[in-house]
């Protein structure tokens, strides 16, 4: 009986350690551009697309290039592997995931945070009167 308990405990502890290590390793820190530039680590940054600047798809590299300001208003060029993300234009905020290198933020993933349907906006009400 004791052996059983020891084996069971060992399995659980091993599973938890494995889970914790994986958790730490795959966790992508949420931060700002300054930190991304300083560390060069893989991070996530939330911000806004700079609409006044050019955003274009580079056909030869299959990359989408745009400019973004983070919450501290720091602006940085972002190069995304892939095409312009869905709902990019209407995104209230965007979250880029990747790392800073060669003078720009190389993003592997972009999340677009859409203005929510729930936030019924008084402007829209006026339009539908």
């Amino acid at each position: 009986m004791k052996v059983k308990i020891i084996v069971a405990a060992a399995v659980i502890v091993a599973a938890l350690i494995f889970g914790a290590v994986s958790f730490v390793e795959t966790n992508v820190e949420y931060t700002d551009f300054q930190h991304a530039v300083d560390t060069g680590k893989k991070v996530q940054v939330k911000g806004e697309w700079v609409k006044s600047r050019d955003a274009a798809f580079d056909r030869s590299q299959n990359q989408f290039v745009f400019y973004m300001t983070d919450d501290n208003n720091q602006e940085l060029k972002v190069v995304l592997d892939g095409a312009k993300p869905n709902n990019f234009e209407l995104a209230k905020a965007i979250v880029v995931k990747g790392r800073y290198q060669h003078g720009y933020f190389h993003a592997t993933d972009v999340l677009t945070k859409c203005p929510s349907k729930y936030e019924a906006d008084a402007e829209t009400v006026k339009k539908t009167l």
Partner: protein, 776 residues
């Protein structure tokens, strides 16, 4: 008014029925039992009425209700109009409430025959009470002028000719205006999946509460055995329904939304997966308890945990706590809803765990008489492994909360976390799904076991060798595939034998065949998919992914918003035509992309449109100017004076409506100065450039790039294209379609596996219902 009243009335009804049932089970009084039943009927009637009323308001476009206005419009076809019932939070809680109410009616009939009515319905009333409380906080019947009082409430004289108004207080001259059109349904949700998927999902959520109610009733009743028998068919039903809902969502994402895959480990997806895993694991331990009376405590824990995980998942996805870390937008539903969602987890958690601890000591300790070579032990290990998977998925999904507490900054895990942690568990699950079927209850003869293992094991090893020959090199994936194949062979063998005997008993084997197919499908379609982004110039064949040749043949409008892009696919000397669709939605002011899929037996060819690039304009030479800088262009002095970006336009940019930026150029030719202004227009994110030409039409200036510098405006730059409009431009280039093409090998295994799994569940439900009906 009537709607809000009915919600509150239903809440009072369910409080009454709960109280009556509580007293009934304490005093064993049939009068009180009847009162509880009566109060529950009143609740049912009220819930049905307010749901019908909400539907009626939607169908008749009563836009004076904020909810109706927020999600529907007059131009929606009826099925979609009906589906707007659950397009928002208030409505989806209403749907959940409706299903919980209906299940309660069946549960009432069922438990009254089992002499379990008072206990089960007591807890059921509590659960329903929480849902109704949620609807009081997030009221689907809120009036629009209460939501937007500033814009819609007026005092004083009515403007002439106004028809869409109501008097609130005619004596004081108070009146409110209401919209005549709704905001409409997000086009992303406008397809038949929206009609069916949420329905099934919420039915699943509602049924997940049944094992909880039974478990607590069992504890209250000091019944530690028979409750499992009557709860079992419900548990399997919950797993079948929620499982179907989950995979339908996956198919929706794959087929229509163009996410590229059927599963993205997104919090919304995970939040239905976690309770499902717990539920499935409890099916296994319930089965063991039915057989040998063991796992008494485990079954209480799992049945309670299953519902707590439903609540926790709801909290994660509905409270706004995940904030910015997911694709789905989670909006803060308000402080009340947040604390209610959190409080409910605590209440039902404390109730369940407290009652369990209270009874823990007196529960019969049944000595486990089974050996390691017993089916009981395999079932326990399987349930444990599935639970561990649920734990990992929960930890991953809760990452923003965990990191928020530890580091003060919320961060999500990458999807690789889920793959890494669940892969070893998947291997164990697959092996157990095979071995478990060959084991006997109590104990098995080790030699017999190994003898029966021989053929499936041999086949699995041969299968693995085949995979290596075909180039599979990844060792963990190879082990996973091999063990899944093993599970498949064992269950085919066992299933065939059982099916020959009595098909009713084949549910388990069939479900495990489904699981094995699903696992193999995961490996082939997710691990071995091949993706390539290509630019297709119109009419020019491009070879992709080895032996596919794509030719873009042009686009055509399908309706006012949607464009279809015809692409010819040549593969293995056959020609197919696919048409991915892009839609510019005026509702979201954005582009939506719908993939097209070429279904073949052994693979899907998946083609998702990314963007359309117009033929390049001949911009000629490109020159960049610092602010104030003057350059000589073909004998003309050109100075970049400033941007023309008025506060009005800035305001438009901030609010997201279309705006225009101009570049003020001072041009001097032959001593004569003029000001010209090329423009950049941004309408809903689609940018167009309007060139400006010299007064004598000799040179055309086009904006290529704007680089304003906020800190130091004098460092602002602009790039301009400069060309002679009369020079013959080169032959215009054709339009280019950028697509992401991918091959998903054997993705049909995923769908086949799912269907098989659900069939297995259904057969099991039928058998367990018959078993629960029988007397023992």
């Amino acid at each position: 008014m009537l709607g809000s009243f009915l919600v509150r009335f239903a809440f009072v009804g369910v409080l009454t029925s709960g109280t009556a049932y509580y007293c009934a089970q304490r005093n064993n009084s049939s009068t009180l039992l009847n009162l509880g039943r009566y109060a529950y009927s009143v609740t049912v009637a009220s819930v049905m009425s307010f749901c019908t009323l909400l539907l009626y308001y939607i169908l008749t476009h009563q836009f004076q209700y904020t909810y109706v206005w927020s999600y529907s419009s007059t131009d929606l076809p009826t099925p979609l109009l009906i589906s707007t019932f659950y397009a928002g939070q208030e409505g989806s809680f209403s749907l959940w409430t409706l299903y919980t109410t209906i299940i309660g009616v069946i549960l009432l009939q069922y438990t009254s025959r089992k002499k379990y009515e008072a206990e089960v319905m007591l807890f059921w009333s509590m659960i329903l009470g929480f849902l109704l409380l949620m609807l009081i906080v997030k009221n689907p019947f809120e009036l629009i002028w209460d939501s937007f009082p500033k814009d819609l409430l007026h005092t004083g004289a009515l403007p002439a000719g106004l028809t869409n108004f109501v008097w609130l207080d005619q004596a004081k001259g108070m009146w409110a205006q209401y919209p005549v059109e709704g905001r409409g349904l997000n086009p992303l949700l406008q397809n038949y999946w929206m009609v069916i998927h949420p329905q099934i999902l919420f039915l699943g959520f509602s049924s997940m509460a049944v094992p909880y109610a039974f478990a607590l009733a069992g504890l209250l009743h000091r019944d530690y055995q028979t409750w499992v028998k009557i709860a079992k068919p419900w548990t399997v039903f919950g797993a079948a329904v929620l499982g179907t809902g989950i995979i339908l969502g996956g198919y929706w994402a794959y087929e229509t939304l163009g996410w590229g895959g059927y599963w993205g480990w997104d919090p919304v997806e995970n939040s239905s997966l976690i309770p499902w895993l717990v539920c499935v694991s409890s099916i296994h331990t319930m089965m063991a308890q039915r057989r040998s009376g063991t796992f008494v405590r485990t079954n209480f824990v799992l049945s309670i945990l299953c519902f707590i995980m439903v609540l926790y998942s709801t909290f994660l996805t509905r409270s706004g706590v995940l904030g910015d870390t997911s694709v789905h937008s989670f909006v803060d539903p308000g402080m009340w809803a947040y604390w209610l969602l959190l409080g409910v987890i605590i209440i039902f958690g404390v109730l369940g765990v407290g009652l369990l601890l209270l009874r823990f000591k007196e529960m019969p300790k049944i000595r486990a008489e089974h050996s390691i070579y017993s089916r009981e032990f395999a079932l326990f290990l399987g349930a444990f492994t599935i639970c561990l998977a649920a734990v990992f998925v929960t930890i991953g999904t809760s990452s923003p909360i965990i990191t928020g507490i530890i580091k003060g900054k919320a961060a999500a895990v990458e999807t690789s976390f889920y793959v890494r942690t669940t892969l070893p568990l998947g291997i164990v699950i697959a092996l157990l799904a095979g071995i478990g079927q060959l084991l006997w209850w109590k104990t098995s003869n080790a030699r017999q076991l190994f003898a029966s293992l021989a053929y499936p094991l041999l086949s699995a090893v041969l299968f693995a060798i085949g995979l290596v020959i075909f180039g599979m090199k990844d060792i963990p994936i190879l082990i996973f595939s091999c063990s899944s194949a093993f599970a498949l062979f064992v269950n085919l063998l066992v299933g065939y034998r059982i099916f020959k005997g009595n098909p009713k008993y084949a549910g388990g084997a069939i479900a495990h065949i489904g699981l094995a197919l699903l696992f193999l499908g995961f490996v082939s379609s997710a691990r071995y998919d091949d993706t390539q982004t290509v630019s297709l110039e119109e009419g020019k064949p491009v070879s992709v992914l080895g032996d596919y040749t794509l030719t873009y043949l042009g686009n055509r409008p399908l309706d006012s918003e949607r464009y279809g892009f015809t692409v010819e696919v040549q593969h293995a000397e056959r020609t197919f035509t696919v048409m991915p669709v892009m839609r510019y939605s005026s509702f979201t002011n954005g582009m939506m992309r719908h993939p097209d899929i070429l279904n073949m037996y052994t693979k899907d060819f998946y083609i998702s449109p990314l963007s359309v690039e117009s033929p390049d304009d001949q911009q000629g030479e490109t020159l960049s100017f610092l602010k104030g800088e003057t350059k000589d262009v073909q004998g003309i002095k050109v100075q970049f004076v400033d941007f023309d970006f008025s506060n009005v336009e800035k305001g438009k940019m901030v609010t997201g409506s279309g705006f225009t930026i101009g570049v003020i150029l001072s041009v001097t030719k032959d001593g004569k100065s003029e000001t010209i202004k090329p423009l950049m227009k941004n309408v809903g994110g689609s940018i167009s450039y309007i060139p400006a030409s010299m007064p004598d039409d000799s040179i055309l200036f086009t904006i290529v790039k704007l680089q304003p510098n906020r800190e130091d405006p004098s460092k602002s730059m602009v790039e301009l294209g400069v060309r002679d409009p009369h020079a013959m431009s080169n032959k215009p280039k054709a339009e280019t379609l950028v697509v992401e093409a991918s091959i998903k090998p054997f993705i049909n295994l995923v769908w086949m596996g799912t269907i098989t799994l659900v069939v297995g569940f259904v057969i099991t439900i039928i058998r367990r219902v018959q078993e629960a009906r029988s007397k023992d």
